[in-house]
């Protein structure tokens, strides 16, 4: 069923009885041309683009829980293309362009809102760094505007500009940045893949990867063995466990990242804002809740929940930046399991096992990458070659020294 305004009116007139499930619930077949392990944002977009761009429709997505049950439904929904380094810059630029056409392409409302992103700076040195970053963004073909203090004040009058500890010097404004409705992104890709014939198989946990003579031949699952000559691992925080099934030890450490949402408020924050002197970022959802987050808890964890010290730190950073939010009540907080890489950049590459591919290492920033990650992973799985905008996301770049360390913090996994 194609969704449209007319369809909504028609269904409204007849009691909304005509809506069909957005995707099938098929049983796994004995063999597919390709299998994607992981039914999150990246896995579903990989399946969608394999079908759409490469005509591979005899494929399956295997998800151990329900579709979109991982980080795609647990993030702070920010979409941006403000990267600096070659490798990241062209990739996220490509992703943002895909976002801009996503709703028409998927025939699905992902509530993509280009409300603008403002990264604040608080010193002369930071201003120089942001000016340079802004120039890189413009050179890449994206947009960036360097705002002085008065420029920021005009847009965000509620910030605490006069404080002595972290005075606000200005901000780098990225008008095409924004947010999207995270679950809808997973659902939109799932529906799009399903409509092209992809089998989305839920409650199907992969328990083993079959390798014969250095080639992948299929997977073992809780719903039986499934053969495939191509298998993609797209499982974010669980990458180390799944890769270990094929004898691999990854450059990944899984960490906890907390996020928070307040009670619904009237519109008060129109943009996405990040604080330059502490890891704090905030936006307001269309439902009215303030959605914000900060740093990792810093210790390796799979708990999907964090500890109080980081809660306290995030609240302090928020209050330092915009004291007006102090009366809002926090409704919920939660944690996502981040696949942290040693340089803070992702991996989309072949593995030492023929036919086995991996897409992981998304650190804090997997959500905005969902379209391009799927696009490039699909290209890799279909053609065997890296897509040009993801050509530097190699699995072995840490051994060869070709790291993409956007923050310049070295090889410690939790510092990115």
């Amino acid at each position: 069923m194609r969704y449209s305004g007319l369809q909504v009116i028609k269904e409204g007139l007849f009691g909304n009885k005509g809506w069909k499930p957005a995707w099938r619930d098929p049983a796994p077949k004995a063999e597919y041309d390709a299998i994607i392990i992981g039914g999150g944002g990246h896995g579903l977009s990989t399946a969608y683009y394999l079908a759409k761009n490469h005509g591979m429709t005899n494929i399956a997505v295997l998800e151990k829980g329900y579709l979109g049950s991982g980080n795609i439904g647990r993030n702070t929904t920010i979409v941006r293309a403000n990267y600096f380094l070659p490798g990241n810059s062209e990739f996220y630029s490509h992703s943002l362009k895909l976002w801009e056409g996503l709703e028409l392409d998927l025939n699905y409302n992902v509530m993509h809102s280009q409300r603008g992103l403002i990264n604040l700076f608080h010193s002369d040195g930071q201003r120089d760094a942001f000016a340079r970053r802004g120039n890189m963004m413009i050179n890449q073909g994206d947009d960036a505007i360097l705002l002085d203090r008065e420029g920021v004040r005009e847009m965000l009058p509620f910030l605490d500009f006069e404080q002595t500890r972290f005075p606000i010097y200005g901000g780098l404004y990225h008008p095409r940045g924004g947010t999207a409705r995270h679950d809808a992104v997973a659902w939109g890709y799932a529906r799009g893949a399903d409509r092209r014939g992809v089998d989305l198989i839920q409650n199907c946990e992969v328990t083993g990867i079959d390798v014969e003579g250095g080639r992948v031949t299929g997977v073992q699952t809780t719903r039986g063995a499934i053969k495939a000559k191509k298998v993609g691992i797209v499982v974010a925080g669980r990458s180390s466990q799944v890769a270990a099934m094929a004898g691999m030890r990854l450059p990944i450490e899984s960490h906890i990242l907390q996020a928070f949402v307040t009670e619904g408020l009237k519109p008060v924050i129109d943009h996405v804002i990040s604080f330059g002197m502490g890891h704090f970022y905030i936006s307001q959802s269309d439902k009215g809740g303030l959605v914000f987050g900060g740093d990792l808890d810093f210790y390796a964890s799979y708990a999907s929940r964090g500890n109080l010290p980081m809660v306290e730190h995030v609240m302090e950073a928020g209050m330092t930046l915009m004291p007006m939010i102090g009366r809002a009540k926090v409704l919920r907080s939660w944690g996502g399991i981040m696949d942290m890489s040693p340089d803070g950049s992702p991996i989309i590459d072949r593995t030492p096992v023929d036919g086995l591919f991996i897409d992981c290492g998304w650190n804090y920033g997997g959500f905005k990458a969902v379209p391009a990650s799927g696009w490039c992973m699909a290209h890799l799985m279909a053609t065997g070659e890296s897509h040009p905008v993801a050509a530097r996301f190699k699995l072995n770049r840490f051994a060869t020294g070709h790291v993409i360390d956007e923050e310049g913090t070295g090889s410690q996994h939790n510092l990115h």
Partner: protein, 90 residues
């Protein structure tokens, strides 16, 4: 989360700095092959369950500690000072 420092007793997590997996204690020789350095710096078992990692008691006794803990439950199972390990100080 509270960590039982062998010298200071049970202290709040805020006093400690997390460095990374225990792998950091096995520093390769300078002339070791590149693969050994790659494993030491980057590659990790990253278990969902019991792990052993290095913490520094930053706001306490300045000891480096090996903490055995569960990454799924955040339970701390054992803490020992690196200096007390067989083979001496790191």
């Amino acid at each position: 989360m509270r960590i039982n420092c062998p010298l200071c007793g049970t202290r709040d997590r805020r006093e400690f700095y997390y460095y990374g997996a225990e792998d950091y204690l096995d520093r390769p020789a300078p002339e070791a092959p590149a693969q050994a350095w790659d494993d030491y710096l980057h590659n990790r078992d990253n278990p969902a369950g019991v792990t052993r990692d290095l913490w520094y008691h930053d706001l306490g006794c300045s000891s480096w500690l090996v903490v055995t803990r569960n990454t799924v439950t955040h339970e701390i199972l054992a803490v020992e000072a690196v200096a007390d390990r067989k083979g001496g100080a790191a």
